[in-house]
Every structure is written in structure tokens, then in C-alpha cells.
Subunit: 415 residues, 2 copies
């Protein structure tokens, strides 16, 4: 029997419902923040990623040569596409742009917990605004999205940092600019590596950097960020933490990553400012400051399933998505045509309706009604031209003339 | 400046809104028919398609060898994945399954109008039911989906046929079974090829087949299909047309394709019965009858944009998706903190709210409110602790004490 490829998921109906729940919350909160939805292609020229994303990502691409001899890759992230699209269309839109996107992304890497070869990701970006208010708006959005899932400050924390904190420091230390990226990558990895290894890689800079990492760095800018979130009553969701640098080379200012408070999972979301990327990708034709974050579905799902309140909220939404309104019980086959004509009318009025495709025992039909989560069953049988309506939750039954069926249903089921 | 790959689309916000509209109608009507949503991976082993889909599709695959030396392909269609998933999980579900899926599919082929290298597709399938009632249910669903877009019997027609009509005929003609597929493919192409070429390919069978194609074939089964749709008041949407055979080799019984009545566009949707495919793909482990159809977004969009009523319906839905509820006009920067705290509260209550990230002239802020389709603007200025609420459609203004803001908003904007 054939299997899906390693690292790729099949979404059976229950999985798909969970996925739809996540997508709908993402979309709902992004729209509340007045972000507009957009999307790019899942396949892009490999060059788009080679150009600017740093080496880590390029080694993990699903890339190949297509039948037209083009070097192409399944997208590993959205930001280079955003930069391409914004550079091409920037005159059509007033700035700042507030855009979000929900789509699938791919990396060819070793499978681990919370890390497949595909995942779905929300991307939210603000383009064309240098002001710090945009950083606050973006981080507030990230927090409010997680809160919409029923997650609280006990469940997750946004660790906020600033690349400029480090680049100012490296400038003071008179480190040549071409070595900055290497030092930043070492700081980024320092939490996952032994202290000795980090110290060795940092060389002369080991002492001052390790002491900052240990004592915690602060800056006036980071304090202002936290104050701005505090004005929205969101300060309890953030920690200043200069250990966060982000692996991608294109970040320039504020950077942040979201983790579960318990520290059991990989990052739930991450992002920051990338003020130079659009200019670089358009070879200087269009220069626009920008910032954004991405949140994947895999780690988020793990966290939701791990927290009782969030899990119950998801399960209630799932039941609601999957349930039908009306099951038509055809007790007498002579009534099938009547039941089907009524089914058609109900469906045209927006109700979710099912019925047995073939003659089926009445008890089995009621079981199907239960299994499908139907609110009511309508029995077409000996009572004709009356039908029996059964409310499944209460087991209440009543006989209704078929002519007054529509009005009775409106009282029992809302669409 | 970099471009998207040929045949791949960027979805700017207006395009994405149109796509969301199509997806939401697809989802809504499928749910009314009690179909459950599922999905498979966009990347599958190439073998899954080589095995059963006939040669036409394999030549058009986006296929490559991944870094683990696996032959893989971007999915060109969903049915083989459905067969794989159903065969693997069939014990977990009561039959018949009624499943739908919305996803992206890929073919490497020459670009033409209505034919890109990627498109989105709705797939609806019923698995585990041989009875003809399933064929009627599926075609009714296909029709009702198109009607939900505001399309009528003047806009589209479902051309219904039956492979058994032809296989019965070929059996009568004593044609060896191994030549059937070739004859069926010739009939499938006959509308797009000169009569002489079709005649030449059909050889001895040219005369009888061409006369059936000219006069129109009928069968008792096809008549029953139309009657079943007539009982749902849908007969005006279908024509019996035995020229329809469908290119894919796995179809076994009823087949149908949907076209615009004007005959200007490519097929809008197509499908049929494939009773043997699940058995074949599972090497006989699981044998289940099945039928389904697929509907793509590209040709459907063209038809919607071409028909006034359908286009206006889409545009109204698009405006509704894109609009915000409230724009916060910050006329005095001293009031920014108050406006932002109120923004946070409104958003938490489900309203879509925007405001200027930086100090901006009041006239420009009102323009932004108009551009974003805001229902109301709330002005924070000299009137504090009162604020001015302006309903943008009517230009009506009123002063409200900030304490009673929430109640006033509830009257003006519903979420």
C-alpha cells in the first residue's frame, strides 16, 4: 500500500477541521487589525531564496530543475515573495501596507517533533513604515492571534529583542562589519549549544557577550516597545530577551520569537524588521522599510492540544463545523421523492441536510443522524402528509403538517 | 526585477478576495450537502500518478527527484490521493463517504487561456455507494455549487454521458477489450479534431460511432439520471451528450463535464464514476466503488466575471470581506493613547479597526477611512472627553461621551 511522502501529512476530516479552525482564527484576528489577505506562488525561482535568505535556508530547499530548464524551489518562506510582489506593485497601494497570508511552505530537513517537511504558516507584514508604532502594532497582532485560541500569558511568551542592540555593541567593540553576521548567528545558537562552544566561536568577544547573555541586556528602544504594548494591556505577554537574534540574515531591527511558557516546544512564531530586503531584492529600484512575522500550524496545534481551555475551544468549533442541521429519515420508500424534494429546498435555504442514498433501516438512519451531529431528524413515514420532527438533543418529537414544515424548522434550527 | 514563474499567479489583495469568495461558496454548498472536508499533500510519489492516470497526465507532471532520491511530483489531480487515503483508512469511516477538498494542483503544460500551470480545485467525491442515487446526488451538488455563484441554466450546462453506453456498444461490436481505451480516447477528442481524422482513427467502427455522435445517443440509465435531477427541479441544467467520455483512463460509468452555454470557455468542471480505482491502487486490498468531480478556479472565475449578475454578487462579497468597521481618527496626538486603548477594546470585541500609525492630517485620515470601506469614523480631538462619531455612508455626525461609546457603536456597526 502506498504511503504519503515522509514529512507530508494527509488531512482526514478531523484534521482538516482543526486546520480550518486555525486558519479561520488567523484570518479573523488579522482582519480585525485591518490587514488585507494576499498570497504568492508555492513554486518560485530558486534564485529568489539564494539571493537573500542566508545559507541555512538554501541547504534545506525542495529545489529542482523544471521541464523548461528553470531552477525552481517550493517556497520555504514568504518574505522574499512579499518583497518581490511589493517591489513590482508598490505604486498601486498607499503605504503603509498591512498584509497577511495563509499558505503552505516546504523544507527538506530531518524530521523532528514539531518539524515536518511541509507546514502551513500565517505571515503578517507591515510595509512602508519606519516608525516604531508599526513594531508595536505587529507584536500586538501576534499576541492577540494567540489569545483568540484561548491561550493566555500563562501559556506563551513573546521574547523581544533588537538586532540594533547587538550591532551597536559590535560597533563599539570595533568588530569589522563583515564579521557581524557570524557573531549574530553564534548568539542565535547560544541557547542550544554548550557555553564552551559559543565562547570558542566568539573568541575575543566571548567575555562581554556571554556576560550580556547571562545578565540580560536592555535598551531604551526595547523598554519603549514594552511600554507601547503595556498601553494596550499586553505587557504581561512579553519578555525582553537579547538572546533572540533570528537565524535569517535579512533582519535589521526589532526581532521576536514566541515560545510556550513551559519551554517544551519549538518556537510558535517569529519575526522582525527587515528594512533593507525589498531594496536588495529589487536591486535598489524600490526601497521600503518592512517588518513581519510568521506563525506555523504544527507547533501551534501542539500547544493548543496541550492546554485544556484552548483544546476545548477548538473541539467545540470543530463540532460546530462538522455538524449538519437536518437528517431526513425515509421510513417509507414511497416518501423518498417527497423527502428529496424537501431536502433540495432546505439546502437552497442554507441548511446542511443529509439523507440515506439507499433504503435503510430506520434505526440505522437515526444512528446516522446522531453520527453526523444533526440538530433534528425529520421522519417521512406512515404519518404522511404529516412528518415527525425529532430534536436529537432533547429527544422531543412532534408531528407537523408538511405545509408548515418550513416555519417549524426555522424555530428549531438557525442557519 | 524578478517575476513569478510562467503560469504561476501572485494573488494581490483583490485577487485573494475573489479566491476566498470562490472557496467560501465551494465550502458552503458542499457542507449543505453534508460533505466533509479533507486534504492530501501537494507533493506525492510520482508512481501514484504513473500507476493509474493514463499517459496524458504523466507527460504533464511537475516531477523531480528529491534530496532523498525519491521520484516525486506536485499533484496534478486529487483522485489518486483520495484512493490512497481511503484505502488506508477505510475502516475508520462508515460508508458511503461524502468528502470534499479545496487545494492547489499543478501541470507543466503550454499556457493557454483558462489554463495555467497551477490552479485551485474543488474535489467532491462519494465513496462506497454503487447505487445510482449517488450519481444524482453528486451532479446535483455540482449544479447547486454553480447556482450559488448566481449562475443559471442560461449560463452553464452539465453534459452527462456514460462510459457503459460505449463499452456496451463496443462489446456488441465484438471489439477486443484492450482496444476500448483507445476508441474512448478518440471519441473524447472527436469534438476537437476534424471528422476525417476521427474516422481514420476509428477504422471499421467509424460509421456506427460517427452516426451515434451525430444523432446523439441515449440510454435508459441516462434518462433515469435526468429524471432524478428533474425530481430536484434541476433537469434544465443538464443535457445527455454521449460525446463526453473524459480523458482519464480510470472512469467506469457516469461521466459529465460542465461548460458555459455560450461555448466560449474550457470545461468548468468534470467528473464521473471510477469504481475500480481504489481497488487497483490498493492492489486489491480495499475495493470500493466511487465517483467524484473536480471544479477549477480559473475557468469558473472567467465565467463569473463574464456574467453581470454573478460578477456583481462576487464584487459585493469582496467589498464586504475587505471593509473595516471603524477608523479611529486621531486629531490631537494627546488623545493617541486613548484612541489606541479603545482600538484594542474594539478589536477584542470582534470589530475591524484601523488608525494612523503616525501623526497624520485629519483630512488624510478620513480619506483612509473611506479607502478602507469603514462604516464609521471616530474622531479623537478637542471635544474630549467626548468623541465625534461619523457614519461615512450618510455623513451623519454625533458627539458621544466616551463612556457610552461601546453602546453607541453596537447600534451603528454589527459584527
Amino acid at each position: 500500500m502506498m504511503q504519503p511522502l515522509p514529512g507530508f501529512r494527509d488531512f482526514l476530516p478531523a484534521d482538516c477541521t482543526a486546520r480550518n479552525y486555525i486558519f479561520s482564527k488567523w484570518r479573523e484576528v488579522a482582519r480585525r487589525y485591518s490587514f488585507a489577505e494576499w498570497d504568492g506562488p508555492v513554486l518560485e525561482p530558486t534564485e529568489l531564496y539564494q539571493k537573500k535568505s542566508g545559507n541555512e535556508i538554501v541547504g534545506q530547499l525542495f529545489n529542482f530543475v523544471d521541464k523548461g530548464e528553470r531552477e525552481v524551489a517550493l517556497r520555504p518562506e514568504l518574505t522574499p515573495t512579499l518583497a518581490r510582489v511589493v517591489a513590482a506593485h508598490e505604486r498601486e497601494f498607499k503605504k503603509p501596507l498591512k498584509w497577511f497570508s495563509i499558505g503552505q511552505f516546504f523544507r527538506y530537513e530531518k524530521q523532528q517533533r514539531g518539524r515536518l517537511r511541509e507546514h502551513f504558516q500565517l505571515n503578517c507584514d507591515i510595509v512602508g513604515e519606519t516608525d516604531f508604532s508599526a513594531d508595536i502594532e505587529l507584536i500586538a497582532l501576534c499576541i492577540d492571534i494567540l489569545r483568540a485560541f484561548g491561550l493566555t500569558e500563562k501559556d506563551f511568551v513573546v521574547r523581544i529583542s533588537d538586532r540594533e542592540f547587538w550591532t551597536d555593541f559590535l560597533r563599539q567593540q570595533k568588530l569589522p562589519g563583515e564579521r557581524w553576521e557570524e557573531v549574530l548567528q553564534t548568539i542565535d545558537k547560544s541557547e542550544r549549544e554548550p557555553r564552551e562552544k559559543t565562547a570558542e566561536k566568539l573568541g575575543d568577544l566571548a567575555d562581554p557577550i556571554l556576560s550580556i547573555l547571562q545578565e540580560g541586556g536592555r535598551s531604551e528602544k526595547l523598554d519603549r516597545l514594552v511600554d507601547g504594548l503595556g498601553a494596550r494591556d499586553l505587557a504581561q505577554f512579553v519578555d525582553i530577551d537579547v538572546r533572540i537574534v533570528r537565524g535569517l540574515a535579512y533582519y535589521t531591527g526589532t526581532v521576536f520569537e514566541v515560545f510556550d511558557r513551559a519551554g517544551k516546544l519549538r518556537a510558535i512564531a517569529g519575526g522582525g524588521r527587515y528594512d533593507n530586503l525589498i531594496g536588495q531584492l529589487s536591486d535598489g529600484a524600490v526601497s521600503l522599510p518592512a517588518l513581519g512575522f510568521a506563525m506555523g500550524d504544527v507547533v501551534l496545534s501542539e500547544l493548543i492540544r496541550d492546554r485544556v481551555a484552548a483544546r476545548e475551544k477548538m473541539e467545540a468549533a470543530a463540532r460546530n463545523e462538522q455538524k449538519i442541521d437536518i437528517y431526513m429519515v425515509i421510513a417509507k420508500e414511497e416518501r423518498r421523492a417527497d423527502a428529496l424534494a424537501q431536502t433540495q429546498e432546505f439546502r437552497e435555504n442554507g441548511y446542511r441536510v443529509d439523507y440515506p442514498l439507499t433504503p435503510t433501516k430506520v434505526a440505522k438512519q437515526f444512528q446516522a443522524a446522531e453520527d453526523l451531529g444533526a440538530t433534528i431528524a425529520i421522519l417521512y413515514g406512515d404519518e404522511w402528509p404529516q412528518v415527525k420532527i425529532k430534536t436529537l438533543a432533547t429527544r422531543e418529537e412532534k408531528l407537523i403538517d408538511r405545509a408548515s414544515l418550513r416555519g417549524s424548522i426555522r424555530e428549531l434550527v438557525s442557519v
